[in-house]
């Protein structure tokens, strides 16, 4: 479900802005670090979980406003260089602010420990994350499908020129889409913190998976990103149960297999 959340955010950015956002992993990491800072500052995990991703959305807003906005016309090479450079700067910034040593964040007391599901053990916090991530994906879907602004966004993915010809401020649309994508990365990071802990390089692993999810689902396809996120997660868990050593490889094996058969991704048209 977390993969779906990451993929959805990245897919939004890729789809609407047509930008390969290599800083998506770094935004994920910032979400996690902001959560820990917020928990330490306000002492309440739940409140921190609300605040931290908003911080990442603000950061996304600033990044779009100060940098990416200038590169829409510059082509993918420049965008790639910019976002990749940005990811390095953010990772180093994390080391400067929070230090190079990894940090652990405990789940809130209510969600510590595991539950015996009869056939298996499962940590309570992970169940919570599944529900929250599912809910977020659902809310994002509601926003995109059922609101006017969501419809404009989807239209933006289909045909940017048409949307701007209709008198819609496409620039603002880009900014909102980037901030929303950043928010989703940030909340995925914040939710992940108690599961995987924090380290300055944590974004790199997740970025790889997020791109796999986006490629698998079809570039810029939102439903595809969600489906691909679920497929990857389930495939990884299933393989791990029977052949633990292969649980990382399977992510890429699934992608390779699907792309061989459907080069445009599961739901892609391009």
């Amino acid at each position: 479900m977390l993969y779906a959340l990451m993929g959805l955010g990245l897919s939004l950015i890729t789809g609407i802005l047509n930008i390969p956002n290599f800083a998506h992993g770094a935004l994920f990491a910032v979400g996690a670090y902001l959560l820990v800072t917020a928990v330490n500052a306000i002492g309440n995990f739940w409140l921190a979980l609300l605040v931290a991703p908003l911080g990442v959305a603000l950061l996304g807003l600033a990044i779009e406003y100060a940098g990416i906005r200038r590169l829409y016309a510059a082509g993918h090479d420049y965008q790639l260089l910019f976002t990749f450079g940005l990811s390095l700067i953010i990772a180093e910034g994390i080391i400067l602010i929070w230090g190079p040593v990894g940090i652990s964040q405990l789940p809130p007391p209510l969600l510590r420990g595991g539950v015996d599901l009869g056939f298996t053990f499962y940590p309570k916090y992970r169940l919570f994350v599944m529900v929250v991530a599912g809910l977020l994906v659902f809310l994002t879907w509601l926003f995109l499908e059922k609101t006017r602004y969501g419809a404009i966004m989807r239209a933006g993915i289909e045909n940017k020129e048409m949307v701007s010809l209709l008198g819609i401020d496409i620039q603002r649309l880009f900014t909102v889409a980037f901030a929303l994508g950043a928010y989703l990365a940030g909340i995925a990071g914040a939710l992940t913190a108690p599961i995987r802990g924090l380290s300055p390089g944590m974004g790199v692993d997740m970025l790889g998976i997020a791109f796999v999810v986006v490629a698998l689902g079809g570039l810029g396809n939102l439903l595809g990103a969600v489906a691909a996120g679920l497929i990857i997660g389930v495939a990884q868990a299933l393989v791990a149960a029977y052949w633990t050593e292969a649980s990382t490889v399977v992510i890429f094996a699934v992608m390779a297999a699907v792309l061989l058969v459907r080069p445009q991704g599961l739901f892609g048209i391009r």
């Binding site: 190079p100 940090i103 940590p123 791990a240 633990t244």
Partner: protein, 405 residues
Amino acid sequence: MSQINRRDILKLGALGAAGLGFPAIIRAQSKEIVILGLWDQTGAFADVGPLNDRGMRMALEERGMQILGRPIKYITRDGGTQAGTSTRRAEEAIDGEGARFMIGPWSSGVALAVSEVAKRKKVLHFFSGGTEDISGSRCHRYSFQWAASPYTAAKTVVDNFMKANPKAKRWHLLVADYAFGWSLEKYIKEVGKNHGLEFVGADRHPLGEREFSNYVQKAAANRPDAVAMINFGGDAVAGAREIFNFGLTPKIPLIMCWSSGVEELIQLNPEIRENLWVGTNFYYTADTPVAREFVKNYRAKFGTAPGYAPSAAYSMTRLMLAGFDKAKSAEVQDVIKALEGIEVNDLLGRMRIDPATHQTLRPFFFLRCKPKAQMKDALDLADVIATGDTPLPKEYAACKDIGSF
């Protein structure tokens, strides 16, 4: 269009100056002793390399960057935790910079490849890590092993854990899937036989694994009395966290068989450290004069206590320099001969290098983490409850003949 401008003339001038100055540089280089620290700055052990560097630098600075009256030129290279990169960088430093002595890298699998370079290029190589092959099946005259033998570690951990938890006989193992993990797993099982241990499961995970839920799920399903992890660094931290998240610890004990000590433990919350037992090559409360001095200086300089990584680099450098002193020579083969059988009272107390295998014989530490309420400060993480130095029994020794130069 060809036109010489001011810039080109300046470039030519610079080239000329470099050419003229070159013989002088070569003369200067022949006097200095170049020592290479092969420390990862990228890849799986990117976080460890800078710590190794700290320790090595401290040992060299203690000597005023000099040995036998000659200046030491300390160079470092980033091997990227990859065998290919590390061997290439090592060869470049040997051929290009004239390095004849090297220490590192941190990963066992990578170090085995680097050890082959040392053998081929006839360069003294010191290494600390969990593979037994450097002082075992792939031993040769040029490589030395600082870390305890995996057998020494396994014996210390299993014997002392069972003394404290005699009923915990069903163990589940989580093993890093490379040279270090395999060595230690073998001896944990071997020593375990003497205690009647039953290994209800043993799963291997790749180096750099961060998603442990699947492994822990399997471990939980086996309902073991104890979980033992044979992994290191970020893997061990991620594993311990997940085992806590699943609610296994603190109900059942978790053993980190080969930990870096402080560096790993401070990444875990005190709650996660409850009922955590730790085997390590170094713990900063080691009660020797050299350790006390080193820890004091390290804390003053870096504001935290040293773990295994800086301490190993520090001690290896000191041992190597002790070899120079004993040999009264900076020739590689003289220093090697001096190190063979050398006995020092150093960082860990009495330390000796076995001339037959190049294995450093030294104590291994076993710790029990403190509950939060008993911690005096943030670094008061654990008590050393035992040390052990049982060497690898002859029947297991794979280094039958270390060979000649």
